[in-house]
């Protein structure tokens, strides 16, 4: 199978997965006690009789479940997710705005995290069992053992409380320009980055160790190539293969990490939107945001698999 056919097949599978996810989310919400109509009216304690029936009809909740789902799906495909109950605004623009904020947080963290951990992983592999290797292991293991909200709190304490270099909250205020964003994002990005280092570093380290043992790397060294060339041109390309998969996994982890980090720093991304929707029991908003997040995760996984296939010509699906 050629690469093109493989990508096409995976895209088809992606559509199926997304359908399954939306069906699952929508099915789960059917199990909830109470519906959106009751929640809107709940504030006015008008929970029975004609008002409720009228509200249900207005929201389309009197239709059978499969019709509701298909209606929602038809809207969602056109980018229309309905209206948020708690905020009374259309969901799609809101979601797009918050997703944009979250990506400003997640993308720098992902780029930084991947870069730093690749360097750490390669350094650890080349100085295997040395002091630096052990030091790197300790640092990455600490990253795994410290939850994001603890690390974030400590960073706030040190950099905002004691040193007063950075703001303690990343809530959006008056201000713009790269300097403003850099100040606001520095601590959340640092938190996410440190939290994501461990897996990539460890994967890179162990796969590089394997690659460095291979005959072709030894040949390259023995024919007198500089160490740098051997590492970058020969070892790294194969050593990076397992890392690609871990990066995609990491992106998924980051989607969860973003929820916590946004809460720690009061940052208005999609994570805080999900939490807001849960608190307010705003079902349409929750359903839409969950689907969008799962969508992002699936696309990242697909991208990683395709990248893997491109990087590794031996693999043909």
């Amino acid at each position: 199978m050629t690469l093109g056919a493989y990508v096409l097949r995976r895209l088809g599978l992606l559509v199926l997965t997304l359908l399954a996810i939306s069906l699952l989310v929508s099915g789960i919400f059917q199990l909830l006690p109470g519906d959106a109509a009751e929640q809107i009216l709940g504030a006015w304690a008008e929970r029975s009789g004609a008002t409720l029936t009228a509200m249900r009809a207005r929201l389309g909740l009197d239709r059978p479940w499969h019709e509701q789902y298909l209606g929602w799906l038809a809207g969602a495909v056109r980018g229309d997710f309905g209206k948020s109950l708690a905020m009374d605004v259309p969901i799609a623009p809101l979601l797009a705005e918050r997703l944009g904020y979250s990506l400003r947080l997640a993308i720098p963290a992902l780029v930084l995290g991947v870069t730093i951990s690749l360097v750490l992983g390669v350094v650890a592999a080349t100085r295997r069992n040395g002091i630096i290797d052990h030091l790197i292991t300790v640092v990455t293991l600490t990253g795994v053992s410290v939850p994001a909200f603890v690390l974030g709190s400590v960073l706030i304490l040190v950099f905002a409380g004691w040193l007063r270099w950075l703001p303690s909250s990343s809530a959006l205020a008056e201000g713009s320009g790269p300097g403003y964003w850099a100040r606001i994002l520095a601590l959340p990005v640092a938190t996410l980055t440190v939290e994501s280092l461990a897996y990539i570093t460890r994967t890179t380290r162990s796969s590089m160790i394997e690659v460095l043992k291979t005959p072709y790397v030894r040949t390259a060294t023995l024919k007198g190539l500089p160490r740098r060339v051997v590492l970058v041109k020969h070892a790294l390309r194969n050593g990076l293969l397992p890392t690609v998969t871990v990066v995609a996994f990491n992106f998924g982890w980051m989607l969860g990490g973003v929820v916590v980090v946004e809460q720690v720093f009061n940052y208005p991304g999609i994570g805080s939107l999900v939490l807001f929707a849960i608190e307010q029991r705003d079902l349409p908003l929750l359903q839409a945001s969950m689907c969008v997040v799962a969508f992002a995760y699936c696309v990242a996984n697909l991208a990683a698999d395709v990248l893997y296939a491109v990087l590794n010509p031996r693999i043909r699906y």
Binding site: T17, F29, L157, W253, V259, I278, R281
Partner: protein, 287 residues
Amino acid sequence: MAVTIPRPAAIALPRARRWPAALVAGVAILGTFAIFAAVGPWIVPYDVEQFHRASALEAPSHAFWFGTDRYGRDVLSRVVVGSRSTLAMAAAGTLLGVTVGLVLGLGSGYVGGRPDEALMRIMDIVMSFPSLLLALLVVSVLGASAVNAVLSIAVVFVPRVARVVRSAVLGLRTAEFVEAAQVRGERGSWIVTREILPNLWPPIIVEACVRMSFAVLMSVSLSYLGLGAQPPTPDWGLMVAKERAFLVQAPWVVLFPAAAIVTLVIGVNVLGDGLREWLMARKTADE
């Protein structure tokens, strides 16, 4: 090149007899927290819900070793008793998730064919949600409480455990002792529980330890987000969240529960490493 080959027993036995240091350290840390969880309320200096309004937000002192929070509650007492909430949630979530995953993985792996295929595709879909978001989804449906946080942790764990168990079962299904049992005409349930399961305990125990460390992180994170333990329960995640506003003014209200969380997670991780080492050493000794 002359190589002296030591007799297997000579290498294996001393290792098997000695407990790995990591195992001892892990058991010590986890054991301490378990004791705190069990008898915490009887050994702490103050009642966890007692307000000492006159000394609110007091720095660590002789009277209050870890200081006090904004209501003047003793932070030391709340951290010690708080191990109950986190340990119980994490252990229950792990136990439930591993048990259900084990049953599904055993059944799916042994039966094979279409049921196996169908179950694994469902597990794939469940796993296509990032774990914390899946937990949020479950909690949002069931409502925010400690019990529901346990359920959500279990839901996240089931497919992951089921996969590990299933692949181990697939490896064993064609083993000679299993085929022998089949030829003897034993029932499927007997083969699974008596022939396959006993061989699975080492990987299951190691997997459970890995899961437990995730479970601790998830339960404190859920509590931090307000979706796990509810006030006024003394809970580490909740303490860090609720006292966030006083972080700079009174760092001890946040730093001590945070340190407890990190110590517990490190303890569980170290225990897992120790167990893996110990089980592998035992396996070498057996062979």
